[in-house]
Subunit: 315 residues, 2 copies
């Protein structure tokens, strides 16, 4: 059986046709157009294109960045203008010839990782995506837990430092505000402004304001002392929030995905090292392994295709 998965990002749209084993048989990518009408039309068109390229697609799954309820309607989508209050699933169902499901983008990425990636074979997995913000997916008893209304797993949005920086959502000191990729950029600018990040600063043409998380990561990957120190400090704040989530969930495994995961062990290593200090009774229990996501940027689309399989009755 083939299904289609569409992952809508703030800037790009990735669509795949995949088998039941998560093997991609066709792929399309394009820029994300502006506005809900244009995005929904683009989804319908790309699915039609995939159907022509890979006949036999039985259902479609879509991942969108925002608060997506159990009916596939979008309640809040700060990174996808025009989508608040849009019944996305219902509107897509009217335009597609096969069943369609819609969920949050991090939830579908988590489903992809647990079925076909780093979490394969596990039942209790915490998936954390470190990028512009912090997203996540809660794999409980082998499947994505969506909570009472579908909005679960906004795991970046709990306070870890009530006097800390303001989060994109408006609340002060959320984990996302301290430990996202965006926060890595702010951290690097702070180091550079006080003269402690020469390697990072050079990569931004000597302009402190031009530094983002990208330059900090590149400096660390190049083995420069300042980039590595900044990334280690950052990993400490990732571990601070992650330790709380381990206490809350007791996962078998933590999978780190999102844009920052291209840093690999330069990021994951320090997170792993700092985690036990924040896990209750760490010396008397199993602290879960922390590993990088395996599906990379395709996790969302592959997971959306897996979500679509839940719409197809077993043969």
């Amino acid at each position: 059986m083939l299904t289609a998965g569409v992952d809508i990002g703030g800037t790009k749209l990735l669509a795949v046709a995949a088998t039941g084993k998560g093997e991609i048989v066709a792929e399309r990518r394009q820029a994300t157009p502006a506005g809900a009408d244009a995005v929904l039309s683009a989804i319908a068109l790309v699915v039609a294109d995939l159907m022509a390229a890979a006949p036999g697609i039985a259902a479609v799954g879509v991942g969108l960045p925002g608060l997506v309820d159990l009916d596939g309607a979008i309640h809040y989508a700060p990174n996808l203008p025009g989508f608040v209050g849009v019944p996305a699933r219902e509107r897509l169902a009217a335009r597609l010839p096969v069943p369609v499901a819609v969920d949050n983008d991090a939830n579908v990425a988590a489903l992809g990782e647990v079925l076909h990636g780093a979490g394969r074979g596990r039942r209790e997995v915490l998936v954390v995506t470190l990028g512009t913000g912090i997203g996540g997916g809660l794999i409980i008893n082998g499947t994505v837990n969506r909570g009472g209304f579908g909005l679960a797993a906004e795991i970046g949005h709990f306070t870890v430092d009530r006097d800390g920086p303001v989060c994109a959502c408006g609340e002060r000191g959320h984990w996302e505000a301290l430990a996202s990729g965006t926060a890595l950029g702010r951290r690097a600018r702070e180091w550079a402004a006080r003269g402690d990040a020469p390697g990072v600063l050079a990569r931004a043409g000597g302009v402190v304001e031009a530094i983002t998380g990208h330059e900090a990561g590149e400096s660390a990957l190049a083995g420069e002392a300042d980039g590595r120190a900044i990334l280690t400090e950052h990993a400490g704040d990732v571990a601070l929030g992650l330790g709380g989530l381990v206490n809350i969930f007791d996962p078998e495994l933590v999978v780190i995905g999102g844009g920052l995961v291209h840093l690999g062990e330069a990021l994951i290593g320090p997170i792993r090292a700092a985690l036990p200090a924040h896990v209750e009774a760490a010396d008397r229990r199993t602290v879960p392994p922390v590993v990088a996501a395996a599906l990379g940027e395709q996790a969302g689309a592959v997971g959306a295709a897996a979500l679509a399989r839940t719409l197809v009755p077993p043969p």
Copy 2:
């Protein structure tokens, strides 16, 4: 069918025989003896006593305050001396004539509330116990989620204020350290020390050091301005952490239990009022109702009896 439920507290042991509907047909209570051997013997004796009083008990459930793994072994139990590394279920199984299950005390209390109390009929419920510490239970898809190793739902142990007071577990600024009943006492002493809690102070004989959460609660219940203001400030810190957990879990319902729940609406009202400010996009979603636990101090024993029912094959 009857089952027995035994709830082991730091100071008292409560045991019940209950029907499949959670109706208590016999009850025993005593002080918790010191040491694992004595506690396990006391459980075996009280179960034998209940079996004589209520023939037909088919299984036994036990709730213990600590990190209890999926085999019913205790990994960490700061409030129950002598229990670290004790295979409690295995040792009880050797002494009891019927099957026995062991879980964390807050988990069994949560099970009691969702099957027979305030959470009846709900599938996604967050149960928070505010007492000496903060405990909790995660009801996901209608049952207790125990995580990968059985240790889930240590919901008091995530950082909300990295510069805050040290938690009982040793980490700084955990939610428990700010919002437990113990923390309410510390808060009231701070108010009294700076001369802002005359009503509370009078209830402690004018001795600041003698103030606990009890006096603050009594003052609030009596309608005194200082007690009410302290409780409202405290409820704000309860809501700060609770809002994060709502973002993470998106529960249908939040049930507040534990020792502080006897304060009723004097505590729950301000928590409910303060919660939306800490819930992402609160104006575009359902913020879950916050209600008091219904089973009171019997929640743990009734829930343990419900846990025991999972050991009995259906007729």
